[in-house]
C-alpha cells in the first residue's frame, strides 16, 4: 500500500560499472537520480518533494570507491564513504583539513554510509524548499525564506539572488580551500572543474547547487599536492555538537614563510549558496604573522558586503570569530 511517508514506487538500477551508470544517467536525464549513500535522497523521496523515475545506485561501483595516491596528489572516488576518508592515513597526514571536515559531518551512522560525492552534491537544507513549496529553486517565482515572517536564521548572508539558501556541505569548504579538482563524466565526455567553480550560486543556476548537467556524474575528486602538509584549520558552529548542519563553518589552508603567511585560502560554509571564499581576508593576511593582532585586524574584512536577513545577523560575529581563531598564532 502506498504511504506518503514511506518510499514511493521507484525504479532501482544497480549498475556495476561507471559506463553502465552513465548510460542510465543519459537515458533518464532529469528523471534519473544518482544514489550514493542515500542520506540526502530518501528524505526527498519520502516527502515526495522530488519524484525521480529511477534511482541509479552507484554506491557499489568499485571504480568509484577508494583513495589513490598519484603524481598529481590524491584521487578520491566519489562513492568513497566519509568513514573511509576519515580513516585514511595518508589523507590524515597530508590533508587533515578534509578529515577534520568529514569528521564533523552528521553522525557516525551517516558517515559510515554517506559518500564524499553525496556530501558534495547534496541539496540545500532550506526548509521551505525541502517541504516541496514552489519557490524559485523549485521552479517557482517566490522565496519563502526571505520574508519578514520567515524563519531564515540558517540562511545566507552572501551572494543571494532571489534564493537565499546555503550550501550545507562540510567537505565542500575543505576541498575549495585545498583547491581540489572535480572530475565529471557523462556517457560521451569527461571534463574537470576546480572545486570552486563546481559549486554554483543562484545567480548562475537557481535550481542547482553544482555545475553538473543532467546525465553527468561527479566521479572523482583530486586534491593537488600544493597544500600537502600545510597549516590547516577547520571549525564548524552548529546548534548541536553533533548531527547538525553548520550555521557557519570555516576551512583554512595556509602556507607559511617563516612566521609570515605566504599564501592562504579561507572558505566559509553555511553563509552562501556555495562555499564562500574570504578573498579579502586572504589578501590582507599575506605577509603577516599569525597572531591575535593579525586576527583582530583582518577578521572584520570577512563580513564586508554581508547582507544578513531578518534572523541571521548572529552569523556575522560568528564568521569573524572563526576567522580570528583560524589566524591566531
Amino acid at each position: 500500500m502506498a504511504s506518503y511517508d514511506v518510499m514511493p514506487d521507484v525504479g532501482l538500477f544497480q549498475p556495476a560499472t561507471v559506463d553502465d551508470a552513465l548510460r542510465l544517467a543519459d537515458r533518464f536525464l532529469d528523471e534519473g537520480w544518482l544514489l550514493g549513500g542515500g542520506q540526502d535522497t530518501y528524505g526527498w523521496l519520502k516527502d515526495r518533494a522530488k519524484n525521480p523515475k529511477a534511482l541509479i545506485d552507484i554506491s557499489h561501483i568499485d571504480e568509484l570507491r577508494g583513495i589513490r595516491k598519484t603524481d598529481n596528489g590524491v584521487d578520491i572516488g566519489a562513492a568513497t564513504t566519509l568513514r573511509e576518508i576519515i580513516g585514511d592515513a595518508s589523507i590524515g597526514r597530508d590533508y587533515s583539513l578534509l578529515v577534520d571536515a568529514a569528521r564533523r559531518v552528521a553522525s557516525p551512522q551517516i558517515r559510515n554510509v554517506g559518500t564524499l560525492g553525496g556530501n558534495l552534491v547534496q541539496d540545500t537544507r532550506c526548509w521551505y524548499y525541502r517541504r516541496g513549496l514552489a519557490c524559485y529553486r523549485a521552479g517557482g517565482n517566490i522565496c519563502y525564506a526571505d520574508g519578514p515572517q520567515a524563519m531564515n536564521r540558517e540562511h545566507s548572508v552572501f551572494g543571494a539572488s532571489r534564493c537565499v539558501a546555503v550550501s550545507p556541505s562540510d567537505t565542500a569548504t575543505a576541498l575549495v580551500a585545498l583547491d581540489a579538482t572535480m572530475t565529471i563524466r557523462s556517457a560521451d565526455s569527461s571534463r574537470t572543474l576546480p572545486a570552486e567553480r563546481f559549486f554554483v550560486g543562484p545567480a548562475t543556476h537557481i535550481t542547482r547547487m553544482t555545475a553538473l548537467e543532467p546525465g553527468e556524474m561527479l566521479t572523482a575528486v583530486t586534491i593537488p599536492p600544493t597544500w600537502a602538509g600545510k597549516r590547516f584549520y577547520f571549525e564548524k558552529v552548529a546548534d548541536r555538537n553533533v548531527w547538525d548542519f553548520a550555521l557557519v563553518s570555516i576551512a583554512a589552508a595556509m602556507s607559511l614563510d617563516g612566521d609570515a603567511v605566504a599564501d592562504a585560502r579561507l572558505v566559509c560554509g553555511g553563509v552562501a549558496c556555495t562555499p564562500h571564499r574570504l578573498k579579502g581576508v586572504e589578501r590582507a593576511v599575506r605577509g603577516k604573522t599569525l597572531s591575535d593582532e593579525t586576527a583582530d585586524a583582518v577578521a572584520p574584512l570577512a563580513t564586508k558586503g554581508a547582507k544578513p536577513l531578518n534572523y541571521n545577523h548572529f552569523k556575522l560575529p560568528l564568521i569573524e570569530n572563526l576567522v580570528r581563531r583560524a589566524l591566531r598564532g
Binding site: A2, S3, S107, W127, A238, V242, W243, D244, N321
Partner: protein
C-alpha cells in the same frame, strides 16, 4: 512439587521487588518486534485519515469547500465540525477544545476538517485540495501580550503567605528581574496515532497511543454520540509519551473514530512529525517576573513572583500545570513571605499541555534563577546561598501551600553529591581555569530538586487492577496504568511476583484496556507505579488470601501456617508447588480472579485556598554539572555530571537509573538546544527535527555519575517503600543551565549578572556573552 518449584528451591524468585531486571519488552524493543499501534495487522477495508490544518492563527472560516477533496482519487469521505454527531470537544477538563474547528480557528495547526481515503498518500494529498477562505482576526501570540489584554484561559491565581511587600522593602538587599523560559516538544519517537474499528451495532474498538485510555474512551463516546459502554480503548505500549499523550490522544482518536463511525469502516490516523508538532500541545513557555529581598548571607526574607504561561487556545490541563508551578517555585527553599501570581494566558497558539514535570520545572527554574542572581549579586558561592535557604526539618518546614514537609532529606542528598562530585575543589578549579583561559570558559553549578508526588487533583489518586490466576499457575495482570517505555509494567509485574512469590516469567503483562479496568487515571504525575503497583498488590493479596484459606482447609492447618515462598507454598512443614496448589484450589471451586483498588492516603487539599496536603511525599535529588563554553561561538559542552537521586527503596534500580539519566538529558535539551520558535503571525516554524533539536547520544556527558540514594526507604507506606521517579530527575538539569550562567558570568569576571534566557542555545549564549562584555 512442580518442576519450577524444585528448580528454584532455596533461592529467591526471579524478578523480585528491588532486583534490577531488564524492561519486560527490552528484547522486543531492540529487535523491532515490539508492536506499537502502527505495527498492528491492518484490518480489511482499513481507511487512512489525514487532517486539514488551519494555516492561520486566528480567523473566521468564511467558506469551506471540500468538493475537490471528495473527488480526489482514493478518497472515501471527509468531514467538518458540522458532521460530528455528538459533542465537538476533546478537552480533558474544560469543554473548550473542539475536535474540528467550529467556524473559528484559534491557532495555526488547528484541525479544520478530516479526510478518509484508501491510502495514507491519497488522504494526505487530498487535504491540499480543500478550498477554505479565512477572514483573519487579530491573534494574540505571546504571554506578555495576553496579560496586557487580560486574555486568559482560566482565572489568574494567587498564593500569599506573610507580607512579602513589607519584607522586601525592609530587606538589606533587593533584586528584581524578568526571565523568559522556552517550551518543549515531547518528541516521543512514536507519533500520535489511533486506529478505530467499528464493531456491531455502532460500537467502536479503538487502539490509541495514549497515557489515558479512559479519557479517550469517554471523549470518543461523546463525540460519536454514544456512551462509554459502547467504546473500548486499548493500548499495549507507547513509543514514548512524556505527557504529550496525556490529553492529546483524544483529538487523534476522536478524528479516527468519527471517520470510522461515519463510514462504517476501520480508520487509522497517524500524524507525520510536522503535523504532530503543529497540531498537538507542548510544555508551557513562561515569562517570569520576580522581586526579592534578602540579607547579607543571601537569606530570602520576601519574594514576589509573577508567572505568565503561554497556555494556547484552550484550558487543556493548564489549570493543574500552573498550580504545580505555584507549588514548586519554592523548590527546596523556605520562603517565609511570598506572593505568587499565576496567569494562565490564552494565546492563539497550540494549546499547551502536560510534559514531564507538569509545570514544576518552570516553578523551580524561577526560584533557582533568583537564588543564582542573589549569590552573584553578593559574590557568594551559589551553593552557600542555596543551603542558607533550605527548608528545615522541624522548623522552617511549612510550604507556601501549608503542607508540612515531614520527609526532608535535601541536606543529606546535597551533602552526598557535593562530596562525591568534589564540588568545592572543582568550583575553585573552574575559577582558576577561567583566569588563564581567554576564549574557553568553564562553569559549574549544584542544584537541588524537591518534587511533590501525587496528582494535585485529589480524586485522580486512585487506581484499579485485575488479576487472574490460571490453573497452570501462571498469572495475567492488568491495571489502569499505561506503558510508555518507562518500565511501569515491569515494576507492577515485580510487585505481583513478590506478593505471590512466583517467578516473574509466570506473569503475563497485558495491554491497558478500558474493558478490564475502568475509569483509570492517566499514567502521569510520576504516580504510575505508586498507584497501580498498590492496586495490583491488592488484587494479588485477595487471590492469595483465598488460596491461604483453601490450603488451610484442605490440609487442615491454621491459615497462619500457610506461607508463600519461592514458587512454593509451605503448609505446615510441607511444601507444595504454587501451580499444584492453584490447581487443587480450582478443583475445589475457588475463585482465582480478583480486582484490586488503591487510593493514596493522607492527601487532602483545598484548591479554593491553595492549602492542605496535595502531596503524599516528596522525591529529592541533586546534581552537579560542569560545562565549557566557547566565547567566540557560544557553543558549549557538558563535561561532567554527578547526580544523587532519591528513589526510596527502588522497585527496580536498573529502570530507575534509566529514568534518572533520561530525565536529566531530556531536561538538558529543554534548557539548551530545543527551541520552539513562533513568528509574529503565530506560526510555529520549528516543527521537525531539522530545526527543532533534541539531544542526541553525543550530548550525554562523558563523565556521567548517577547514584541512586537507595537505602532511604520512603517514610510513607508506598509500594515497597519506593519513590516515584518519572518526573523528578528532569529538574536535575537546572544545574546545566546554571553552570552555563556561571561560565557566561566569568566573561565579566563575575561582576555582571548574566542575561541568559532558556533555552541557552549557542546563539543565546553568545548574545549573553556580548551582554557581559558590553556591561563589563
Amino acid at each position: 512439587m512442580d518442576d519450577s518449584a524444585r528448580q528454584h528451591s532455596g533461592e529467591r524468585i526471579s524478578g523480585a521487588v528491588g532486583t534490577p531486571i531488564p524492561h519486560d519488552s527490552a528484547h522486543l524493543h531492540v529487535s523491532g518486534a515490539a508492536l506499537y499501534t502502527d505495527d498492528l495487522p491492518e484490518p480489511r477495508g482499513l481507511l487512512h485519515a489525514a487532517v486539514g490544518l488551519s494555516p492561520v492563527a486566528h480567523a473566521r472560516i468564511a467558506a469551506l469547500d471540500l468538493g475537490e477533496v471528495l473527488q480526489a482519487p482514493g478518497v472515501v469521505d471527509a468531514m467538518t465540525a458540522d458532521d460530528i454527531p455528538g459533542k465537538n470537544n476533546c478537552g480533558p477538563v474544560v469543554a473548550d477544545d473542539p475536535v474540528l474547528a467550529p467556524g473559528v480557528v484559534e491557532y495555526a495547526g488547528q484541525a479544520v476538517f478530516a479526510v478518509a481515503a484508501e491510502s495514507v498518500e491519497a488522504a494526505r494529498k487530498a487535504v491540499h485540495l480543500a478550498k477554505v477562505s479565512y477572514e483573519e482576526l487579530k491573534p494574540i501570540i505571546d504571554p506578555v501580550e495576553a496579560v496586557a489584554a487580560s486574555s486568559f484561559v482560566l482565572p489568574s491565581e494567587v498564593i500569599e503567605r506573610g507580607d512579602s511587600r513589607k519584607a522586601i522593602d525592609a530587606a538589606a538587599h533587593r533584586l528584581q528581574g524578568r526571565v523568559s523560559l522556552g517550551g518543549q516538544d515531547q518528541f516521543y519517537l512514536e507519533g500520535q496515532i489511533a486506529m478505530a474499528l467499528p464493531r456491531e451495532d455502532g460500537d467502536l474498538f479503538v487502539y490509541s497511543s495514549t497515557q489515558h485510555p479512559g479519557e479517550v474512551q469517554h471523549l470518543v463516546a461523546e463525540a460519536i454520540g454514544r456512551s462509554s459502554k459502547d467504546v473500548v480503548v486499548e493500548c499495549r505500549r507507547m513509543g514514548g509519551a512524556f505527557g504529550g499523550k496525556e490529553s492529546q490522544p483524544a483529538l487523534i482518536a476522536c478524528i479516527a473514530s468519527l471517520l470510522a463511525h461515519k463510514t462504517g469502516r476501520p480508520c487509522k490516523l497517524r500524524l507525520d512529525r510536522d503535523v504532530d508538532m503543529l497540531m498537538t500541545g507542548k510544555r508551557h513557555d513562561f515569562v517570569i517576573d520576580y522581586e526579592v529581598g534578602f540579607d547579607d548571607d543571601g537569606l530570602i526574607s520576601g519574594i514576589r513572583f509573577e508567572f505568565a504561561a503561554r497556555c494556547g487556545m484552550s484550558a487543556d490541563l493548564s489549570g493543574a500545570i500552573n498550580d504545580r508551578t505555584m507549588f514548586h517555585c519554592d523548590n527546596a527553599y523556605f520562603l517565609e513571605n511570598i506572593s505568587i501570581v499565576s496567569h494562565r494566558c490564552k494565546t492563539n497558539t497550540v494549546s499547551n499541555t502536560a510534559f514531564r514535570g507538569f509545570g514544576g520545572p518552570q516553578g523551580m527554574f524561577a526560584i533557582e534563577h533568583v537564588i543564582d542572581d542573589i549569590a552573584r549579586y553578593l559574590s557568594r558561592n551559589p551553593l552557600d546561598v542555596r543551603k542558607r535557604n533550605f527548608y528545615g526539618k522541624t522548623t522552617r518546614n511549612v510550604t507556601q501551600y501549608q503542607q508540612t514537609i515531614e520527609d526532608n532529606i535535601i541536606e543529606d542528598v546535597v551533602t552526598q553529591v557535593e562530596s562525591s562530585s568534589d564540588y568545592a575543589a572543582r568550583y575553585a578549579a573552574v575559577r582558576a581555569f577561567n583566569a588563564d583561559s581567554a576564549l574557553l570558559k568553564k562553569g559549574i553549578a549544584l542544584t537541588p530538586v524537591k518534587f511533590g508526588i501525587s496528582f494535585t487533583a485529589t480524586h485522580l489518586n486512585q487506581a484499579g487492577a485485575l488479576l487472574h490466576v490460571y490453573t497452570d499457575g501462571t498469572v495475567h495482570i492488568n491495571h489502569g496504568g499505561t506503558e510508555m517505555g518507562q518500565g511501569l509494567f515491569t515494576k507492577v509485574a515485580q510487585v505481583v511476583a513478590e506478593e505471590l512469590q512466583i517467578d516473574i516469567d509466570r506473569i503475563k503483562i497485558t495491554a491497558s484496556d478500558t474493558s478490564k479496568v475502568p475509569n483509570a487515571s492517566a499514567t502521569a504525575a510520576s504516580a504510575g507505579a505508586d498507584l497501580n503497583g498498590k492496586a495490583a498488590q491488592a488484587a494479588a493479596q485477595t487471590v492469595k488470601r483465598r488460596l491461604i484459606q483453601f490450603a488451610a482447609e484442605h490440609f487442615n492447618v491454621e491459615p497462619s501456617a500457610v506461607r508463600f515462598e519461592n514458587n512454593e507454598v509451605l503448609v505446615g512443614g510441607q511444601a507444595i508447588g504454587f501451580a499444584e496448589l492453584v490447581h487443587l484450589a480450582w478443583f475445589a471451586r475457588t475463585s482465582l480472579s480478583a480486582t484490586g483498588f488503591y487510593k493514596t492516603p493522607k492527601i487532602n487539599y483545598d484548591r479554593s485556598t491553595f492549602s492542605g496536603r496535595p502531596f503524599y511525599y516528596y522525591a529529592y535529588g541533586a546534581a552537579v554539572s560542569e560545562v565549557i563554553v566557547d566565547t567566540l561561538t557560544g557553543e558549549h559542552r557538558l563535561l561532567r555530571v554527578d547526580i544523587v537521586h532519591d528513589c526510596g527503596k527502588s522497585l527496580n534500580p536498573a529502570i530507575d537509573l534509566g529514568q534518572i539519566e533520561g530525565g536529566f538529558i531530556q531536561g538538558a535539551g529543554w534548557l539548551t538546544t530545543e527551541e520552539l520558535w513562533w513568528n509574529e503571525k503565530g506560526e510555529l516554524k520549528t516543527h521537525a527535527p531539522s530545526t527543532y533539536k533534541i539531544p542526541v547520544c553525543s550530548d550525554v556527558p562523558e563523565e556521567f555519575h548517577v547514584t541512586i540514594l537507595e537505602s532511604q526507604a520512603n517514610r510513607e507506606e508506598t509500594i515497597h517503600r519506593s519513590k516515584a521517579v518519572g518526573e523528578p530527575p528532569l529538574m536535575l538539569s537546572l544545574s546545566v543551565f546554571h553552570a552555563l550562567r556561571d561560565a557566561v558570568a566569568s566573561v565579566s569576571n563575575y561582576q555582571v549578572l548574566p542575561g541568559l534566557n532558556a533555552p541557552a542555545t549557542p546563539e543565546s549564549v553568545l548574545r549573553a556573552i556580548d551582554g557581559q562584555r558590553a556591561a563589563g
